[in-house]
């Protein structure tokens, strides 16, 4: 799924996936949560991050002065 798009398009894609995996009835019940998540995705996706080397340890320790065990 491409993310750098309007919220409504992202929500539509998520709803289609939800219908495929959980059934159309459940997908309809998930509409509010899908809308919330689509809103978040639409907010963060446009931020371009340059490739300037690695991203050290961010999955384990999100803070710069944190040691990786």
């Amino acid at each position: 799924m491409l993310l750098d798009r309007p919220k409504e398009e992202i929500a539509r894609d998520l709803a289609e996936q939800a219908a495929k995996f959980f059934g159309p009835e459940r997908a309809a019940e998930l509409e509010k949560e899908i809308d919330r998540v689509a809103g978040w995705l639409a907010l963060i996706a446009p931020h371009r991050l340059d490739i300037d080397g690695d991203e050290p340890d961010f999955l384990v320790a999100p803070h710069a002065d944190m040691e990786v065990q």
């Binding site: 939800a18 949560e33 899908i34 998540v37 963060i44 961010f58 002065d65 944190m66 065990q69």
Partner: protein
């Protein structure tokens, strides 16, 4: 002063001086729970027998040359922390009969320092946001907030002087604000999460709910420090937090965060302005600062991380035992599984890149000053929103909520202070100063 009104510091001192009995203290609090909890529903499990046994043991030791700092002091433990031999339900039928065989590191350290576990406090299911049965002691038609609902309500209602909470979004500070108690969330990695059922991995923090800043410092002192069992635990040296909290004479330099998206309700926004003016009049340096990015964007980053990490944690159990899941966490786990991996990585990278900008907000300042919550406690169909708290869970900065009076509807008001990572001593000193300026919070019951 009646026994149930004692703070952690007061109880510890009086026990040490043999002026009160730890057994009497536990019995008094058990009676208070008996009297109030039918309505408030702050406790999931009360361990009367275990607490009395521990208190009797403490009583026998009184008079020994040196006693640990929390000797005989009762505490409550949010029901997502492992407690050896005492069930840990996570608020879910799926864990109804789960009895851990060991204590979470935080609980073990508090017990090592003499604390007596009175029981387990109600948590929102799996520490997310489905409304709990717990009621707000100030008004039973309002939520106590979540997810550390029972801990905040029990401390506010004087059923216990202190309790453990945990925060992924705003689960310590928001219930603290709604219930009129002090909520402390230290730096990410400062207190071990080992033995705490995870909500996520990169956002979870252990925190405290108390009735004073000094008590928060005493609990932090006990629990802080490296734990090899938690991959995110920090080796950063600890400080003398208790001494910092007792240093109340230095007015802090405060950055009053401009609420550019105007999320706070008018009464809250007005109250924060009054607090800033009050602090300035008492000698604090107050200047306006701005968030480097809109709060809505920062919370979107946190939201994606929370959704995806929680989805991975719960996907299998949800498939096997869906009946044990409340509606909102079920929705979160289902939709979280649909979020592309690239979005999660992007969110993590954004957090990493934005963190230095967040730190620069505190240049030349001790703390940021902002609302804890956008409104007073709402009705119990929700646990409130994490607008002002979630960003500090995202970046791992230490934050504290201080009660600061009552609203027109006689519900607690609060403000939040935030400092740089691992600067808890700065935060606690500023918080203790501000607490002294604002004055004591009355009891709701």
């Amino acid at each position: 002063m009646e026994l149930h009104e004692l703070s952690v510091a007061q109880a510890a001192e009086l026990i040490r001086k043999r002026e009160i009995s730890p057994v009497d203290l536990v019995q008094t609090l058990l009676s208070r729970i008996e009297q109030l909890d039918g309505e408030l529903k702050a406790w999931e499990t009360v361990d009367a027998e275990g607490a009395l046994t521990a208190a009797r043991r403490c009583e026998r030791m009184v008079g020994a040359a040196e006693l640990p700092p929390l000797h005989g002091v009762p505490i409550g433990v949010k029901d997502i922390f492992y407690t050896a031999g005492l069930r840990t339900t996570c608020g879910s039928p799926n864990y109804r009969d789960f009895v851990p065989t060991f204590d979470a590191t935080s609980v073990a350290r508090l017990r090592r320092d003499g604390a007596v576990v009175l029981g387990k406090t109600v948590t929102v299911q799996f520490a997310h946001f489905d409304p709990p049965p717990t009621r707000n002691p100030w008004n039973h038609l309002r939520t106590p907030g979540g997810s550390s609902s029972g801990s905040a309500a029990a401390v506010a209602a004087r059923m216990v002087p202190a309790a453990l909470g945990s925060q992924t979004g705003g689960s310590v500070l928001r219930p603290a604000a709604y219930c009129g108690v002090v909520g402390l969330k230290p730096t990410y990695g400062r207190i071990s999460r080992y033995g705490v059922i995870p909500n996520t991995w990169t956002l979870d923090h252990v925190g405290t709910l108390t009735r004073s800043v000094e008590d928060a410092a005493i609990l932090l002192q006990s629990m802080a420090g490296y734990d090899p069992m938690d991959a995110a635990s920090s080796r950063h040296p600890t400080s003398d937090y208790v001494a910092a909290a007792r240093q109340k004479d230095r007015p802090p330099r405060l950055g009053f965060v401009v609420d550019e998206e105007r999320r706070a309700q008018p009464e809250i926004a007005e109250h924060l302005k009054e607090m800033a003016a009050l602090f300035e009049s008492r000698g604090a340096e107050v200047r306006e600062v701005r968030m480097p990015r809109p709060m809505s964007e920062l919370l979107a980053i946190r939201g994606i991380m929370c959704e995806v990490e929680a989805a991975d944690l719960h996907a299998h159990l949800l498939r096997e035992r869906p009946e044990g899941y409340a509606p909102r966490i079920r929705e979160l786990v289902e939709v979280g599984q649909l979020v592309p991996g690239v979005a999660y990585i992007h969110a993590q990278r954004l957090r990493r890149r934005l963190r230095p900008q967040m730190e620069r907000m505190l240049d030349g300042l001790d703390c940021l000053l902002m609302p804890t919550a956008s409104d007073v406690a709402p009705d119990p169909s929700t646990t409130g929103e994490n607008w002002y708290q979630g960003v500090w869970s995202l970046f791992g900065f230490p934050s504290i909520s201080i009660p600061s009076g009552l609203s027109r509807d006689r519900l607690p008001l609060a403000f939040q202070l935030v400092s740089l990572p691992f600067k808890e001593e700065t935060l606690l000193s500023a918080a203790a100063w501000a607490e002294a300026v604002v004055g004591p919070m009355p009891s709701p019951v």
